[in-house]
Symmetry: C2
DNA sequence: GCCGACTTGTGGTAAAATTCACAAGTGATG
DNA sequence: CATCACTTGTGAATTTTACCACAAGTCGGC
């Protein structure tokens, strides 16, 4: 039984919703409450969850603490994930400085760049490494996730090297569609594409 | 005839692909070439484009310059779009400094924040305005797009105000599902959700 | 103990998206 | 001018996704 990708992509939203409700002091919820929160249908939430087991009680709804725990287990978020960052530019700096990832169990353990001026420089608690040492460093660190924050022109080449080095998931900030073996997962952060598809619906005069 | 949303979301990718091929010096392409570039099927690209007209020639493929022009027309990218930015934190600063949006015809024309210490301070070429003046400023500027870069706790409230002020598209960087009238489009930039769904497929030993 | 108000999990159904497969058209070649 | 190798655009088939609707279960109140 392989669960559809669209379902998997919604699970983190469910988890976030559960956390938000818990922060409101709630202890239980219902598929309907979550649906209103997330703008989905309650049936979809129930069906999605049913792929992984039965987490609720008829008439009662879902225990938030239990659902929280189960979602983290399913998504393998009940552990820390080490990531490597490639690209020590403005974006790379911002990603290191922001604590968003760390707070959620994702830690950047190495930074790489190709620019000789940047290599060896400190960046937060890390020192920028030479991208030429990518492969050996990754194997040494055992990282499975990489953040790609390099210019568009270099993205495909670096991504291929990451895949060769054993990286199994890439969070891609470069505005390029990566061509990689299917066993490597890619998540594409692409604000420009989002803007460009929204303007389709925007017309200067209605 | 209303075109499915998934199709619209792919058009910017096609546009990006067309630009990349043009930069390689090519003058024509085929659905198959684009498909390989983007990791899609050629039939899908042809069918998507067929929603808007016939842009290719049988046996010949697509003229890149023409397809480029048509995609920009369809997406309303043949003009400049003014945006307002709410949130003058680290992310806001980064968005202003980065020229990515401007290069593609999206310009940030005003910045807002709620922090009295930030209001009145210069930020790039702009001066941070009081978020209390959001509504009047937006109407004055005529902006239809907003970038939401505020903390999660403030996102829904600000988003509702944006919608009231006539904003019709929001690029949301806050880790919150926004609840808005359906005529307001929302694009969600959410690296953490991408990471969290990728870890599903990652198993420490397997 | 029984009723009524809820809620889950799910089989079946409807809708949506993708892919197939092919007629029709194009230009190059000899 | 006939052939060949390509390519588009598109109905039809297939696959995927979302939704409906309801049996079954739970709890609180009286």
């Amino acid at each position: 039984m392989d669960t559809p990708g669209v379902v998997i992509q919604r699970l983190p939203l469910y988890l976030r919703c559960v956390k938000a409700l818990q922060e409101q002091g709630k202890r239980i919820t219902s598929s309907q409450e979550m649906a209103e929160h997330l703008g989905l249908s309650s049936a979809q939430i129930r069906k999605d969850l049913s792929h992984f087991g039965e987490f609720g009680k008829q008439g009662m709804g879902y225990d938030l603490a239990y659902l929280h725990e189960q979602l983290e287990r399913i998504l393998h978020l009940d552990r820390r994930w080490d990531m490597v960052l490639v690209g020590a530019g403005d974006l790379g700096h911002a990603l290191i400085r922001s604590g968003d990832f760390v707070q959620r169990g994702f830690r950047i353990v190495a930074v790489f760049d190709a620019d000789p001026h940047k290599i060896g420089q400190p960046l937060g608690p890390l020192v920028v490494r030479d991208v030429a040492t990518l492969s050996s460093s990754i194997r040494e660190l055992g990282a499975q996730i990489a953040i790609l924050a390099v210019p568009a022109g270099a993205a495909q080449e670096v991504a291929s090297k990451l895949a060769e080095a054993g990286i199994r998931a890439i969070l891609n900030y470069a505005p390029v569609s990566l061509n990689l073996p299917p066993e490597v997962r890619v998540g594409h952060v692409d604000p420009l594409v989002l803007l460009q598809s929204m303007t389709y619906y925007l017309c200067p005069e209605g």
